[in-house]
């Protein structure tokens, strides 16, 4: 149980830590206050607890697919906030907008990953022979996930501000695409979007269950058997986010020249 808890919690924390570390690094590069992260942490925690407590009734909403609809909405919220963030970097007068976009994307990531962790651990309360190993495995998994986030943060801020911003925006472009592909997957699972024949099957190269597959899932939203609608939406997302990022980078370069 210890190893299983370690893997489950590491996977959830890694996904959230990736986004949070990039957002923190961007705050550092753009010299924005970081007190909003505390607000995001508190908001995300409260919403994750509320979601976890009410998961049974939420799951049965909309004829049994309430969980998928809420999770897809959280992914779309993250996507929209990340686009606002990427776009707002272009303007020196929109630091408030950037901060609120950070609050939105941080909180959505925290709720998404946090509620699963809460449900998982709470399920073992009262099962004495398993609880200790679950908590121990969870702590170790969370610690490793958190450490990866810290490493990634220092990796980004170790570059000069322009290259750090380039790297941070590049990761946010990829994560935005991942949000879209995961949201669509949930809507397909809920039968809101029709299930289509996959365009390809790359599981022979990279299995989704492998470590590489899990890392690619968090970073790129990797699916070994994506449907046409997912590929189209992912490509559109990459194109849209990249256009915004190029505009913002050009505006930032102009600002630092002045």
């Amino acid at each position: 149980m210890l190893i299983n808890s370690f893997i489950i919690i590491l996977r959830e924390v890694f996904e959230a830590a990736l986004i949070v570390s990039v957002l923190l690094a961007l705050c550092q590069i753009l010299q924005l206050p970081r007190r909003y992260f505390l607000l995001s942490f508190m908001l995300g925690s409260i919403l994750a607890i509320v979601y976890a407590i009410n998961i049974s009734s939420i799951s049965m909403l909309f004829e049994g697919v309430g969980q998928e609809i809420i999770n897809a909405s959280l992914h779309f919220t993250s996507f929209i906030c990340l686009q606002i963030l990427i776009f707002s970097i272009a303007s020196s007068s929109s630091s408030k907008m950037i901060l609120w976009a950070i609050v939105g994307s941080f909180s959505a990531a925290f709720v998404r990953e946090g509620f699963e962790i809460i449900i998982y651990i709470l399920g073992f309360v009262g099962i004495e022979h398993l609880f200790d190993s679950v908590v121990a495995g969870s702590f170790i998994g969370a610690g490793v996930g958190f450490s990866i986030g810290v490493f990634f943060y220092y990796f980004i801020v170790s570059f000069n501000p322009l290259n750090g911003l380039r790297l941070g925006l590049f990761v946010l472009i990829l994560v935005s695409g991942a949000m879209i592909i995961q949201a669509l997957q949930l809507l397909i699972q809920a039968d809101i979007i029709i299930s289509q024949v996959p365009l390809w099957n790359s599981s022979g190269w990279v299995r989704e269950s492998s470590v590489t597959g899990q890392i690619l899932y968090a970073l790129l939203g990797y699916e070994s058997t994506p449907s046409p609608i997912q590929v189209i939406a992912y490509s559109a997302s990459l194109l849209f986010s990249s256009t915004l990022a190029i505009k913002s980078l050009n505006a930032y370069k102009m600002r630092i020249k002045e």
Binding site: S59, Y120, G123
Partner: protein, 105 residues
């Protein structure tokens, strides 16, 4: 714009078509039944009843499905239409025992 509207309507009508339901029970961290036979090219609604006090996460990389089913709760997952083949699934929280497969004929 009109084409997009038509595609949207076709999608919604197709999605709204009722799917046959298969009931799956989770008990003592095992799936009952653990083998589910379904016809090819048919959409199926899985109604999963978790009778354990602990939560379970229904997961299948082959089916592209993932859903948390809280303890003493139910959850719905749609699968298919699928081509002929075998599609394993497992409970992520208890992967050693909670295993099953969808057999599409």
């Amino acid at each position: 714009m009109r084409i997009l509207l038509i595609i949207y309507l076709i999608t919604m009508v197709a999605a709204a078509t009722a799917a046959p339901t298969i009931n799956i029970r989770i008990h003592n961290h095992l799936f009952y039944p653990s083998k589910i036979n379904i016809p090819a090219d048919t959409k199926i609604k899985l109604l999963i009843d978790n009778q354990d006090p602990t939560a379970e996460e229904f997961e299948s990389y082959e089916l592209n499905r993932e859903k948390v089913i809280p303890g003493h709760s139910k959850g719905v997952i749609f699968i298919g239409p699928l081509p002929v083949g075998e599609y394993p699934f497992f409970g992520e929280f208890f992967p050693k025992t909670a295993q099953g497969r969808v057999i599409v004929k």
